[in-house]
């Protein structure tokens, strides 16, 4: 039995947090500053809880699906379903992701369970990238947010799909194996030869879901806290003011997508509100990058994968999105 190691930064983070909250106010000794600080902390708390309340239903659905995969789907199934050819496997997994409605935090436990069941890493990543980005709700909310215009919605889906395939293929070049944190024991053949009853299986599915929740929960909470912290203390105005010229504005919108950690069904409205400040390509970068990678789900990925893998994945997605949009911007 392995315990999940918690990265050192968690301790540092809370240490710094307690330091700021506990010791800074008396040092400043200024009533109005203190009042402002308390007020902003309450706002921070409200945003933090709201992100959590918004995400929890999706995370619960995610862990239940993960539990379902663990109990009801065998390695043999996976072996039969996933094509041997890397390109075919990636395209198939991206298609499955596109048909599968999920959000970027609920999909992490599912991906982890799929990889544990023997799905190759590139296929799992392809699925993870298209899952939250391409689904009916996202298409419709994007369509509506941009003035009943299908152009942005369709571009978002098509470019996002191609980018997901490219990233998954790159992952297949660089990484083999599960990339899980800690060592993954080779899957042992079933010890128990008799098949348990359906009820037992169902119960086990829920038990796995519970374990999954306690594995993921803390990362979701830290991710939500960081996203809320950024929303409370970092002004988008400063970011927006940097964004001058095409290449920087794409970068600005991508960083905005990363730090805001919005749910992919709601981000179209925020994206649209920047429509007049920024050009279409940078808005598209915001809409494509956000559902694939953001602050909240990066923290959650760190709970599953090696730090090196997570950082490479984030860098790869960011680079591919950035250059694809930059190159395509001439035609948009």
């Amino acid at each position: 039995m392995e315990r999940l190691p918690i990265p050192k930064y968690v301790f540092n983070f809370w240490f710094i947090f307690i330091l700021i909250v506990g010791f800074l106010p008396p040092l400043i000794l200024n009533f109005s500053v203190l009042k402002g600080l308390i007020s902003s902390l309450l706002s921070l708390h409200t945003i933090f809880l709201s992100i959590l309340i918004e995400a929890l239903p999706f995370v619960l659905i995610g862990i239940l699906i993960a539990g379902f995969i663990q109990i009801f789907i065998t390695e043999e199934h996976i072996q039969r379903w996933i094509p041997r050819n890397t390109l075919m496997a990636v395209i198939m997994s991206c298609l499955v992701g596109a048909l599968f409605p999920a959000c970027e935090c609920g999909i992490v436990p599912i991906v982890r369970r799929l990889i544990a069941k023997g799905v190759p890493i590139h296929a799992a990543i392809g699925f993870m990238l298209t899952g939250p980005l391409i689904n009916p709700i996202v298409i419709l909310s994007t369509y509506m947010a941009f003035g009943n215009n299908f152009k942005i919605a369709i571009l978002r889906m098509i470019i996002g799909f191609v980018i997901a395939i490219i990233v998954a293929l790159l992952i297949s070049l660089f990484f083999k194996g599960s990339q899980f944190k800690g060592s993954l024991h080779p899957p042992s053949s079933s010890i128990n030869t008799q098949t348990p009853s359906f009820i037992t299986k169902l119960l086990n599915m829920f038990k796995h879901a519970i374990d999954e929740f306690f594995d993921m929960g803390k990362y979701l909470i830290i991710g939500a806290f960081l996203a809320a912290f950024v929303q409370t203390y970092v002004s988008t105005k400063t970011l927006v003011e940097i964004g001058d010229g095409l290449s920087t504005s794409i970068l600005v919108m991508m960083s905005l997508a990363f730090i805001l950690s919005l749910c992919s069904e709601a981000d179209a409205f925020i994206g649209a509100s920047f429509n007049a400040i920024f050009s279409t390509p940078s808005i598209l970068a915001f809409l494509i990058f956000g559902p694939m990678i953001d602050l909240k789900n990066t923290i959650m990925l760190m709970s599953v994968f090696r730090l090196k893998f997570v950082l490479t994945l984030v860098a790869l997605v960011a680079t591919v999105v950035y250059f694809s949009i930059l190159i395509l911007s001439a035609y948009l």
Partner: protein
Amino acid sequence: MKFHFQQALRALMLLAFSAMIASLHWTEELTKFINPKYESLSQTASILFFILFLVQLTRVVSLSKTTQHCHDTGQACCSHHDHGQSVFTRKKIISYLIIMTPIITGFFVPAKILDAAIADKKGGAFILTQQSQKSKIEDYLTTNETIDENIYDEHDPDPRLIEEKQEMTKKQYEQLKQKLAQQTTLKMTDDDYTIYYEEINQHLANYLGKQIQLKGFVLKEESFTENQLVISRFLITHCVADASIVGFLTEFPEATTITEDTWIEVIGTIGQTTYEGASLPVIHIDDWVTIEQPESPYLYPITIRMSF
């Protein structure tokens, strides 16, 4: 018989999550966090937590001395997985503390209504100049068909929302819009605020000189002149984290005496002005009054059902 402390702790936390969401719902605090339209989704989460709690209860006490660990799954064992059987370590205590944080604060720390400080972080009045050119953020579209197939919206719409016209068909929406446009005095209520807002920003010329009555909280910018302020509201699509600002720039002499975050209700005439190079509507105030912060301070987008 063996009592597993850690399993009991986990059971307690699952129950607490369920109870926290349920209590936020009962006290109607939940609307301060999320769009009421998604409340049933949170209720589902509360119920799921409760089911998980019931399942977890079966693990608290084991009859035999052997650990039940995944031998009963009849499947390959998952090795990198914490089943809550291993010993307590400092790391585990911290991770449980992290999970308990939102439960405790959720019960004891009151929700705060977003204020001007947050509005400023979200771009402040600068955002308004953009909306006047491209104002489409307020419509949210879903179709009946996808709702049925989709895990996001498996619930029926709250009948209250339909009563309050928060959900309507495209045709009804257009009719309502026309009806509103013909009125000489625009009285903006929470239900039709977004319709007026979109209309006025898109077809300002049609509304110049009309009387308007609305309420909102005061937002100021450093670049404003002394007699300027924005009467603003937060529009919430899903949860307060995605709140965006809507509102109107106003001009009147007493503006300088009103502090930020004060809720006011005003009657005025719609005009046109330029701010930071953008043309946008302005309200010249005829009469104004300070009001209490309303029960429901947020606005929610109107869902337009498309009938295919």
